[in-house]
């Protein structure tokens, strides 16, 4: 059992938790994730490691409530226990000194982007963070990003905070104005990653995207997470989750993500009605 040590609400439906999991913290690296199962009847869901602390034996996760499992996790309070947490899973994001690295994250991609940004900064890069949110009330981790970014560009879809526009607009302007980018890392909604990768392809900038397909085991055993990269079948959990964005079939990923939409709705409705 894995105890929730602390919890905060960062924005509507976006929560941060700290979980006691010394065995996960021990070998954790930026870009990796855990799979958790809340209880005996629970589903296994992946969440990325936001932060971790080996000495104190905990990990931190940030998640958005989108369906049954994430809403239920959102209802857990400090002291409550999660039945299973396994990880760190997936390959660490390949971190090196590229020169200037631009990290483009959208929505709840931000916590994942954060871990990678921090690692890129520690590796000596000049880091430029571009983060986008729906509107002002959804802006999260601004201070955290400020601390580790050489340049921080925040945008909101509706213009209610800082500026109006999508992360793609910001990246394009940045590059058009002569902004340097030797490497781009992107994480967030699939459509955003797709558009970002189109831009960086025009500019010929090496780009990795962190993919988030449906997963079951997270260890390479089921193939639920398969994605097409450069025409080949890859398992995001074992071969990724980061891939060369210019090779990824984003449309296929988008399609596969909604495979269980009707069932997810049944599960969520039942949960909201107080079933369990």
């Amino acid at each position: 059992m894995f105890e929730i040590m602390d919890k905060k609400v960062l924005a509507p439906n976006i929560k941060w938790i700290r979980v006691r999991a010394p065995i996960v913290a021990r070998n954790a690296h930026a870009g990796q994730f855990v799979i958790l199962r809340l209880h005996e009847k629970g589903e296994r869901i992946p969440l990325t490691l936001f932060k971790w602390n080996e000495e104190e034996g905990y990990i931190e996760l940030v998640f958005q409530e989108v369906g049954k499992t994430t809403y239920e996790l959102g209802s857990y309070e400090p002291g409550d226990k999660i039945m299973d947490v396994v990880g760190p899973l997936g390959n660490p994001t390949p971190i090196q000194n590229y020169g200037t690295a631009v990290i483009v994250s959208g929505g709840v991609g931000a916590p994942i982007g954060y871990a990678v940004t921090r690692a890129l900064k520690e590796a000596g890069n000049r880091v430029v963070s571009i983060i986008g949110f729906r509107s002002k009330e959804y802006v999260i981790l601004e201070d955290e990003f400020k601390k580790i970014s050489d340049e921080l560009l925040i945008t909101t879809d509706d213009g209610s905070y800082i500026r109006k526009g999508f992360t793609t607009d910001v990246l394009r302007e940045y590059l058009e104005n002569g902004g340097k980018a030797d490497y781009v890392f992107t994480v967030g909604p699939v459509i955003m990653m797709k558009l970002i990768s189109q831009i960086t392809k025009e500019y010929g900038i090496k780009t990795d995207a962190s993919l988030n397909p449906l997963m079951v085991d997270g260890t390479g055993m089921c193939g639920a997470c398969r994605v097409t990269v450069g025409g080949e079948i890859k398992f995001a959990c074992a071969d990724g989750p980061d891939f060369d964005a210019h090779q990824v079939d984003f449309d296929e990923l988008m399609s596969r993500l909604v495979e269980y939409r009707p069932e997810e709705k049944i599960a969520l409705d039942k949960y909201m009605k107080g079933g369990c």
Partner: protein, 476 residues
């Protein structure tokens, strides 16, 4: 006058196919005492050192010996004889391909039906369990040495059982949230109730084996971390990574590996959705590609979650199917439709990206391949379509590389299986391996045999046998 020998085997009572396709309860119901005694009475009691049945058993169960004890109504005695070489009879009795092993050689076959050895073995194990009888085991005093077992499938569990009895401090590490490997996530409830694997794990715990779940070795802990804390390691990590055919449409929605399909149903209990949170798609028509046990399990599970038409698509002919005969028969009784000499060439999707048809091509059998089986050859121009809502790939699995992708010392074959020698030693000092991880997809009883011999080899190593300069690869 002795009674004349009964030629026919005593059939095992089974759930009616019409009923059983609506539930996940076990299909074969087990012998009663009366039936078991009748079947046992048919055995000719061949002398142990000549009994042909024993030669067919990969773990040398003393078959006439335990059958004699059944006749004497001595369950404890029968159990103890089996346990001399087989720690998991309630599992092997259910899932061994007996017709290719012990039963294949039974001399009764010359005059009538072969003895139903598997069913009798299961009877002994089940009856013992019911009566709360355990075999008497001797556990050597703790010798201060620690052994780590990676993977809790039949190979790992068997190695753990033997090592703990030899006095080692044994810890089993498992990646998933439950123990048993394929026994819990692959083989369905209606063939092997999960409670049986659980019972065996509890028994091992009672002998002192420690179990730690949610540890993916290679990620959570590396093999180097483990070698720091343990004197020897046994890798029983199986062959868990599924193969797909890279043909057009393979990633359409509704196309699964058998592992995903069965894991959702067995391990995650998707058949009880929404009581359990994990969903599974329920449609009308489903095609399974493959002809082994895995394919039969997927097809029969599909019927049970409500698919109305289920096809087995196999590229060779019926006699080449690798599934146990009993399972093929069960699948036929339940209404699974078999299509032989066909292979998929493409999947067609609808606007939403869901699979709606599979395009198949007819094969003819050509020259035999390395396995001696005639190789299927597609016949150009014979393509045809089959409408489906879902497809399950059951075309084989290879070992999962997560464990050793960053361990250059561990050498693998071109199939990705770990290289070991006669004594199950890998190319890394102190690290042993067995089961599907070294054989590729094989069987439960072969994995158990490896676990047993692996345990013996670990014991010899930890008692001072030197590690060889060079590992001479054993061929499986």
């Amino acid at each position: 006058m002795p009674k004349p020998l009964k030629k026919q085997r005593v059939p095992m009572p089974e759930q009616d196919p019409k009923e059983r396709i609506h539930n996940f309860n076990e299909v074969a119901l087990g012998y009663t005492w009366e039936l078991a005694l009748e079947e046992a009475s048919r055995c000719l009691q061949c002398p142990v050192n000549h009994a042909p049945c024993i030669k067919g058993c990969p773990v040398d169960v003393n078959i006439p010996g335990f059958i004699k004890k059944i006749r004497e109504k001595d369950i404890k005695g029968a159990l103890e004889i089996i346990h001399e070489t087989n720690a998991l009879p309630c599992i092997t009795g259910r899932v061994c391909p007996q017709e290719q092993q012990c039963e294949m050689h039974c001399v009764m076959g010359k005059v009538g039906d072969k003895i139903n050895i598997g069913k009798l073995e299961r009877f002994v194990a089940d009856e013992a369990k019911k009566m709360g009888i355990y075999p008497e085991v001797y556990i050597a005093p703790n010798n201060g040495k620690k052994v780590a077992i990676i993977g809790s499938g039949p190979a790992g569990l068997t190695a753990a059982a033997d090592l703990v009895k030899m006095g080692y401090d044994v810890t089993v590490f498992e990646a998933l949230h439950d123990y048993g490997g394929v026994l819990i996530y692959g083989i369905p409830e209606f063939r092997l109730p999960k409670e049986i694997a659980r019972y065996e794990v509890e028994y091992l715990k009672s002998l002192g084996v420690k179990f730690i779940k949610n540890v993916v070795v290679g990620k959570t802990l590396t093999i180097y971390d483990i070698l720091n804390d343990y004197d020897a390691v046994f890798l029983g990590t199986g062959a868990g990574t599924p193969n797909f055919l890279n043909i057009p449409g393979v990633n359409l929605k509704g196309i699964y590996s058998a592992n995903e399909f069965l894991t959702r149903i067995n391990l995650m209990k998707a058949f009880k959705f929404p009581e359990y949170d994990t969903p599974i798609k329920r449609g009308k028509k489903l095609a399974v590609i493959g002809g082994g046990n895995v394919a039969m399990d997927a097809a029969r599970s599909a019927l049970r979650i409500g698919y109305e038409e289920v096809y087995i698509i196999y590229r060779r002919t019926k006699e080449y199917m690798t599934a146990r005969k009993e399972e093929i028969k069960h699948a036929e009784e339940e209404g699974v439709k078999f299509m032989f000499l066909v292979s998929p060439v493409e999947f067609v999707g609808n606007e939403e990206g869901n699979v709606k048809a599979v395009v198949l091509i007819m094969n003819e059998l050509g020259e035999p391949d390395e396995s001696g089986r005639r190789r299927p050859k597609p016949v150009p121009g014979t393509e045809f379509g089959l409408e489906v809502d879902a497809v399950v790939f059951a075309i084989g699995q290879r070992p999962n590389k997560v464990l050793y992708q960053e361990v250059p010392e561990l050498k693998v074959t071109k199939w990705g299986t770990l290289i070991v020698d006669e004594k199950y030693r890998t190319t890394m000092k102190g690290v042993f391996a067995g089961g599907d991880a070294v054989r590729g997809e094989a069987t439960v009883v072969l994995a158990m045999g490896d676990g047993k011999r692996g345990a013996r080899a670990i014991d010899e190593y930890l008692k001072g046998e030197p590690w060889p300069e060079k590992i001479e690869p054993k061929n499986f």
